[in-house]
């Protein structure tokens, strides 16, 4: 599909064991890039053999720099960084604990900052590079009872713009993808909380102009484009991939 678009690229994707991250890993591989990814557990059995795996927990403040160094050593350099690893806690501010804050901000915010900070000197030395952060529509609009998650994604959007502005002169491009409802295990867990999961799913479906939920591949295709030469003039942007969900009013009378 993307044959050769990322040929010669050397990509590190966090959280690529499953879900959106895994789709990005496979799309990058298909597009010709050498890819390394990571996760908290052991290497998944079904991960393609030529994809490098590092067991790492990006919530550990010491992990990120080592991860970038490992990718440089293993891939012989680094030209693409995808910050995909993320966690979600479904609580309001009133219910959130300090431990929730440390978890959500540690993974969704601090790790993104640390990964970018570690990659920037490598990119600078190589004459450039591309960062693709996974933000969220929830960083711009509030999902109820997701306060810290929403805030962490707004951080990602702001950091994306800052890196683009501060490091553009070094040939670094930095963009974010803001997925809507992508059918991953995370989304299925959200439906499972509903009184009637099937009805909730049907209701959610009606709110998508595209007539379907997102798939990890939808995000992966955007990530290929943003990392590749066709997006050479695109930087500092947060690109929404949500099947039209946020183009429509939150009050969608057709659904009532």
């Amino acid at each position: 599909m993307h044959v050769g678009v990322l040929a010669g690229g050397k990509a590190l994707v966090t959280g690529g064991g499953r879900g959106i991250g895994r789709a990005v890993v496979e799309a990058y591989r298909d597009a010709g890039a050498a890819v390394m990814t990571c996760g908290r557990g052991a290497r998944p059995d079904d991960l393609p053999e030529d994809v490098a795996w590092a067991q790492a927990d990006v919530s550990d403040p010491r992990a990120c720099e080592a991860l970038v160094a490992a990718a440089v050593a293993r891939l012989g350099g680094l030209s693409i960084l995808v910050n995909n690893a993320g966690v979600q806690v479904e609580k309001t501010v009133a219910d959130s604990t300090d431990a929730d804050w440390d978890l959500v901000m540690g993974v969704n915010a601090r790790a993104v900052f640390q990964m970018c900070r570690a990659a920037l000197p490598v990119f600078r030395q190589a004459g450039g590079g591309a960062i693709v952060n996974i933000g969220s529509i929830s960083g711009d609009l509030a999902d109820p009872s997701m306060a810290l998650y929403n805030a962490s994604k707004a951080f990602v959007h702001g950091l994306t713009r800052s890196i683009a502005v501060d490091h553009g002169a070094d040939g670094v491009r930095c963009n974010a993808i803001c997925p809507g409802w992508i059918l991953t295990e995370m989304a299925d867990a959200a439906f499972a909380l509903a009184r009637d999961p099937e009805a909730a799913k049907a209701d959610a479906l009606k709110r998508h102009a595209a007539g379907r939920f997102g798939r990890p591949e939808d995000v992966a295709r955007a990530a290929v484009w943003l990392a590749g030469p066709d997006a050479d003039f695109v930087t500092g942007r947060c690109i929404t991939v949500d099947g039209g969900l946020t183009a429509a009013s939150p009050l969608n009378p057709g659904v009532f």
């Binding site: 529509i137 929830s138 609009l141 509030a142 999902d143 109820p144 959200a190 439906f191 909380l193 509903a194 009184r195 009805a199 909730a200 209701d203 959610a204 709110r207 969900l245 946020t246 183009a247 429509a248 009013s249 939150p250 009050l251 969608n252 009378p253 057709g254 659904v255 009532f256």
Partner: protein, 254 residues
Amino acid sequence: MSDGRLAGKRAVVTGGCGGIGTAICARFAREGATVVACDVAGTDAPAPGGVTVARLDVTDEDAVAALFASLAEEGPALDILVNAAGIEIEKTIEETTLEEWNRIFAINVTGMFLTAKHALPLLRRAGEASVVNFGSYDGFIADPGLAAYCATKGAVHALTRAMACDHGPEGIRVNAVCPGYIDTPMLQSFFQDAGDIESLQQAVRDVHPMRRYGTPEDIANLVTWLASDEARYASGQLWVLDGGLSAQVQQMRL
């Protein structure tokens, strides 16, 4: 009266006898302004003290020009122009006839252009003047089956910024108010085809973070501020007033 927030100011409000326009005119008068309420419905509607009603079709340039010519004879300047005249067509583009399309643009957009164009000489003479246009949150995000309406409101938003840039140096501020769901005859007509209106209305309220929809008085509060000297540094902006509705992602019923 004389210590009102709009004391001594002269205002023209189009759509001045509609749901929101009536509330604006009444509030302006209470705040000490002299108000001309323009409406196609004309003098049939009762007007509160301080408000004069004038029949006006905003799509008729001769009539608009004549109105502001007569205002120029009665007084030196105009401080406030509120463009509240507007209609809604509840159709997709496929169902919308060219005639309907032209009609909604004529009222919602061209009417605004005409009143502002012919008011400008009078607004300039005020030294400091305020124009308040009616946009909508529908100018940012789509309500289904309101395509032409959404498009007119997007045009209003762009026109608002353009006018603010062009006429700011002349002391004229231009802003748009972008209401969400406001309890007006227009909203009731939007509900009408829905069957069980009461349960629909409750569902609509529940989607709002404030758990109610807005009232014309809520809108009048914002318009009054934008028209007043307190807002003297506010220009070129699109002021969303929707009880928090558009701060959210679409609310799934889980």
